[in-house]
């Protein structure tokens, strides 16, 4: 690399890096200070009404971080009841809105963060910097994107079905947001106690196909309809391996409620290997199956057939611009978070800490750390692997994923009835490995991956 130093060039009036990009640390400190001051101010004002209540709740929350959100919520409700003397039904309503508010804001922030982290991680994989001009290390880039998306003109193609064109992004976003309600974020912190959480997740997962169809049909464009059809076929055929992997876990933990599944994964073996399902042979295969099917379900990297073929058959989102496209974009990301959240709940032990002496970190932090690890894995895969072709994609689902799903269920059964000891472990490992190798050969014969030896000319 040639040494970089300024060259006696005509120094035109070049815009120097803005303050935020030049001194990132000080800008960040400024920002955090501002937020703290505003928060303290609001707290102080509210506190005047009923002295000592709110601050007491905050101090209590500080004391026990594990249950901090619950304590804060109880404190706030108590404050509302005493200071503003609200009616009981009003309190019930506000408690629901508190939960909704925190969920939406937390996942909103993660969505904004991920759109930046994705671009920066892909950039770093490709040996370049990634956005670093808007704000410190590019932290304001999501803000800039949001403003751009909102101010862009929202074009509705002529002859398009306006109602469907408008409803499609909504039917994509709403199920993704609803699914977030049943994930167990921490001990006792499950927004909605559902006995059939897993079923709820798959039911709402199925409704996104209707949204894709509406998008394809509403854009009045032959190619976006074709794209919608292909992505519906892909989503349906990849839902089955998703079911099978989740079925194995439900079978083992004996219940459909996510909370029960997470509590089934409590405790440690040999005091440092946690009871997570991913550490069992069938669990590991099931997790890989679930995660690959999750990538296909949310149209991410190796399976991004519809939007990847944009130069040929337009994806179903092509006729959208401005705010509706932003909603699609958000629906895709929230869908990815939801399905990664589920992978964490089913296989990676929900909010349990990986090591016993790490349990002082609050549960909900563990949940989000693991969730974000899976999101980063998805980004990493996106930066490496080329796109699968249409027929390979379908062949892979039906010829490899579904048979492997049955094998995982069988292995889980064997593991369970063999009492989980070493023989059970080995038996289920064999039951998983045999079809993997056999199917690998079947799938490989379709495209021979045998190493080719190249001869050289003699002259």
């Amino acid at each position: 690399m040639l040494p970089t130093e300024t060259h006696p060039q005509t120094q035109r009036n070049r815009p120097a890096l803005n303050f935020a990009a030049r001194r990132p640390w000080s800008t960040l400190a400024l920002l955090i200070a501002a937020v703290l001051v505003v928060g303290a101010g609001v707290l102080f004002l509210l506190n005047l009404k009923a002295p000592g209540l709110l601050t007491g709740a905050v101090v209590a929350a500080m004391g026990d971080p594990g249950q901090a959100p619950l304590i804060l919520k109880a404190g706030l409700l108590h404050y509302l009841e005493t200071a503003w003397s609200c009616a009981p039904w009003m309190l019930e309503l506000t408690s629901i809105f508190i939960v909704i508010g925190t969920l939406l804001s937390v996942f909103g922030v993660i969505f904004a963060l991920t759109s930046l982290v994705e671009r920066k991680m892909l950039a770093r994989i490709q040996n370049r910097f990634g956005p670093n001009r808007a704000g410190p290390w590019g932290l304001f880039q999501p803000l800039a994107d949001a403003i751009k998306m909102l101010t862009k003109e929202d074009i509705v193609p002529t002859g398009a079905d306006k109602v469907l064109h408008l409803l499609a992004p909504i039917t994509m976003l709403v199920p993704a947001l609803l699914v977030l309600a049943i994930l167990p974020y921490g001990p006792g912190m499950v927004p909605v106690e559902l006995g059939v959480g897993i079923l709820f997740f798959f039911a709402l997962g199925a409704t996104t196909e209707v949204g894709v169809f509406m998008a394809g049909w509403g854009s009045n464009n032959k190619y976006s309809l074709l794209g919608a059809m292909r992505s519906i076929a892909q989503m349906i055929s990849y839902e089955i391996p998703l079911f099978l992997a989740a079925l194995a876990v439900v079978m083992l933990s004996g219940s459909l409620s996510p909370d029960a599944i997470v509590s089934a994964q409590d405790g440690y073996v040999f005091s440092f290997v946690p009871h997570w399902f991913v550490f069992t042979p069938w669990g590991f295969a099931g997790f890989l199956l679930f995660f690959t099917a999750a990538l296909a379900e949310s149209n991410r990297s190796p399976f991004d057939l519809p939007e990847g073929e944009s130069e040929l058959v337009a994806g179903h989102m092509t006729e959208y611009s401005g705010f509706k496209y932003a909603v699609f974009f958000m629906a895709e990301y929230i869908g990815l978070f939801a399905i990664c959240g589920f992978a964490v709940t089913l296989f990676l032990g929900g909010w349990h800490a990986p090591l016993p002496w790490l349990e002082w970190i609050p549960g909900y932090l563990w949940f989000f750390i693991k969730l974000y690890a899976l999101v980063l894995l998805a980004i990493w895969v996106r930066g490496t692997v080329p796109r699968m072709r249409g027929d390979h994609l379908m062949g892979f689902a039906w010829k490899f994923m579904i048979p492997m799903g049955f094998a995982v269920i069988l292995a889980a059964a064997v593991w369970h009835y063999a009492g989980g000891g070493v023989p059970g472990w080995l038996a289920s490992a064999v039951i998983v490995l045999m079809p993997y190798l056999a199917l690998g050969r079947v799938v490989a014969i379709q495209y021979p991956a045998s190493r080719r030896v190249y001869r050289f000319s003699e002259s």
């Binding site: 079905d161 006995g195 039911a203 709402l204 199925a206 409704t207 209707v210 049909w217 349906i236």
Partner: protein
């Protein structure tokens, strides 16, 4: 009785379902009809949930909205005439006979419901139906029908595959 919320919820969902059902029948564009049918399914699922039958509610949501609605959409697309113009039946002459038939059916069903003995008995406390109970009943008591349905479905699947392949190039 049940709380204020549930009454509001019931009214909301009930009207949604009814409205969607009327739309499914009345709208001109078949695709809109198909989609309002999907909304009807969602409404029915909501009603199930209101009755605390969670399992049936989510199965309804999963099977009907996820699969049947999309299937209906595919069927509508395949059978659309190329130029997209759908001959609408002229509705003027059919209004009177339609109303008569509707009234007749309503009366018959109303009479049957009123005579049925179940109305006289007080509403029994709903048994706490858990998924586990449904599962065990399915596998133990009704194993034979379950297996029969399985075989039926596989033959249907294979049949569908054959149809699809045949259409390709006559091989």
């Amino acid at each position: 009785m049940n709380s204020l919320f549930e009454i509001i919820a019931f009214l909301l969902i009930g009207s949604l379902t009814l409205g969607a059902a009327v739309a499914a029948v009345g709208l001109r564009d078949t695709v809109h009809c198909g989609l309002s049918l999907a909304v009807v399914f969602v409404g029915v699922a909501g009603l199930y949930l209101l009755l605390d039958a969670e399992f049936i509610g989510f199965i309804q949501l999963l099977v009907y909205v996820g699969a049947v609605a999309v299937l209906v959409m595919f069927v509508i697309l395949i059978t659309r005439p190329e130029d997209g113009v759908i001959q609408q039946p002229d509705r003027r002459r059919q209004k009177l006979p339609g109303a008569l038939i509707a009234a007749g059916i309503f009366l018959v069903t109303y009479g049957a419901i009123m005579q049925s003995p179940s109305l006289r008995r007080d509403v029994p406390e709903p048994a706490a139906l858990s998924i586990r109970a449904v599962g065990e009943a399915l596998v133990s008591g009704h194993l034979l029908p379950l297996m029969a349905i399985g075989v039926l479905l596989t033959t249907a699947l294979i049949g569908a595959a054959l149809f699809a392949m045949e259409g390709e190039d006559g091989k």
